[in-house]
């Protein structure tokens, strides 16, 4: 579970990272030998304290950063052979702050920007935009000025603008920041829908409840390394707590309550309720 790269059985790897090291020009060693495989159609959450290397890692997936050492393969091809504009057709990356990307005066052209850059035109473009707006619940806001929307809706707009690109891999950086429960549920539904379509979803998050409830695998990073990975049950189970504590992370409440009640691994609320019900019967 710890350290070694996971090799999902029976599925083609969408992402293959080997010995990835990244040293920034000022000397910060942000990644220190990361090995990671992510299979096609997997939904993976990357967690860790600030500065653990999560964002640096995902920026290698679409070529925004190039490895100091090691390799990154995206859909079987080395990422360093492709320009960012070319990798954008494979990996859609939603940045944390929507205000760092919104520029159009209306929601619709903002969403259309990415797919049109990829060469999608005409009816295909309209369909991609409509589909993405529907996925985030902004269909009725297509003509609105993005800056008239609240922060949580601008955040959903930034997700839609990447969903419309229909990339096989979608990376979400802190998708639940600034979202209320409804917005979080919306993001959960988006992740589930993407995974159901066979698209690979990778998310960075500090929201452990969201991570446990939404993703099939959790990758824990500390000081530029993967220190733990596994299912939510394994990553948030009591044996893993010392590692989580060392990264200043706390398991979700359901996992902690389940452990205190001796119910075993209960990373999600439904798992907790089921374990509690089984214990009573």
């Amino acid at each position: 579970m710890s350290g070694a790269a996971t090799r999902p059985i029976g599925r083609e790897p969408a992402i293959r990272v080997r010995g990835l090291v990244h040293v920034f020009p000022e000397g910060t060693r942000a990644l220190d030998g990361v090995d990671l495989d992510i299979a096609t159609g997997e939904a993976v959450a990357i967690v860790g304290q600030n500065g653990s290397g999560k964002s640096t890692l995902v920026r290698h997936l679409n070529g925004l950063l190039r490895p100091t050492e090691g390799t990154v393969e995206v859909l079987g091809e080395p990422a360093d052979r492709l320009r960012v504009a070319a990798l954008a057709a494979r990996v859609g990356l939603v940045f944390q702050d929507p205000d760092r990307q919104i520029f159009a005066r209306r929601v619709r052209p903002e969403v259309a920007f990415g797919p049109s850059n990829l060469g999608i035109r005409g009816k295909d473009l309209d369909a991609a935009v409509d589909e993405a707006l529907a996925a985030v619940g902004l269909s009725d806001q297509a003509g609105a000025n993005p800056y008239d929307l609240g922060y949580s809706r601008r955040k959903l707009l930034s997700i839609a603008s990447v969903l419309a690109m229909r990339t096989p891999i979608v990376v979400l950086d802190e998708p639940t920041t600034g979202q209320d429960l409804r917005g979080i549920a919306r993001v959960q539904a988006i992740v589930a829908s993407l995974a159901a379509d066979g698209r690979t979803v990778i998310a960075i998050s500090h929201d452990m409840r969201f991570v446990a409830e939404t993703f099939g695998r959790v990758v824990v990073m500390r000081a530029g390394r993967v220190v733990l990975e596994g299912t939510p049950a394994a990553a948030f189970g009591e044996p893993a707590w010392p590692v989580l504590t060392s990264t200043y992370l706390e398991p979700p409440l359901a996992a902690r309550a389940g452990a205190r009640l001796g119910l075993g691994a209960t990373p999600t609320e439904s798992a907790f309720v089921e374990a509690l019900a089984a214990g009573r019967s």
């Binding site: 925004l64 960012v84 990356l93 760092r100 919104i102 850059n117």
Partner: protein
């Protein structure tokens, strides 16, 4: 000789500060664009008696070359002096010191915020460029492709900067920034006696040079 002497003094100071190499590079970059136009205009359009060579209807004169050389040296001298100040002076310390000497806190804040905003805006612009490139914006391709990317890059930079300015001003006001009266500075840069002597000495030298120049004792050429 004046500009050359200034360059020599500035470079010597830069060497002591350990920034000589960077100073030359930065100053050259600042000077180059203006220097190119100065050389082109002066060499080919300045009237003179000694023609060095001719290109079409334009005569390159020795007088033009001399004038261009003088001007470029002056520009480089100005550039090195300003760049050395920028490289060796902490803007925050500079503005705080001005405030200690009676500058309005509001003006001091505006000055400090302006100077500090440059690296912050550069970092924000880098993040915005990364976000747009992730959406397929081609910033590595042809000139036309790059031109298409101007609006998606500049609009978020401007809008997020305006938002930040508003948030910052509100954050300042809620912490009583607008309250009238004297301020007590928590920290002020040191001012040692030799620094005061040097500063006043330079002021006196400057005054003497101005007087000498006006009186015609010092010629106004390089």
């Amino acid at each position: 000789m004046g500009p050359l002497a200034i360059i020599a003094i500035v470079l010597a100071c830069a060497a002591v500060a350990g920034v000589a190499g960077r100073l030359v590079k930065v100053s050259a970059l600042f000077t180059l664009p203006i220097a190119i136009s100065v050389v082109l205009v002066s060499v080919f359009t300045r009237a003179g008696t000694t023609v060095l060579f001719t290109i079409g209807p334009f005569d390159a004169t020795l007088e033009g070359v001399e004038f261009a050389a003088q001007t470029v040296v002056r520009l480089f001298a100005i550039s090195t002096a300003i760049s050395l100040f920028g490289m060796t002076t902490d803007p925050r310390a500079f503005v705080l010191d001005l405030e200690r000497r009676g500058l309005s806190p509001r003006f001091a804040f505006v000055a400090a915020a302006t100077v500090e905003a440059v690296p912050a805006m550069a970092a924000r612009a880098a993040t915005i460029a990364a976000a747009q490139r992730s959406r397929g914006l081609d910033t590595e391709g042809s000139v036309l492709a790059r031109a298409r990317g101007f609006l998606p890059l500049i609009v978020p930079v401007v809008l997020s900067s305006l938002t930040e300015v508003e948030e910052r001003s509100l954050a300042l006001e809620v912490r009583a920034f607008g309250r009238p009266g004297r301020r007590h500075l928590l920290w002020a840069p040191g001012d040692r006696s030799w620094e005061r002597i040097l500063r006043w000495g330079l002021a006196v030298v400057l005054a003497l040079l101005v007087v000498a120049r006006v009186a015609g004792i010092v010629p106004g050429t390089a």
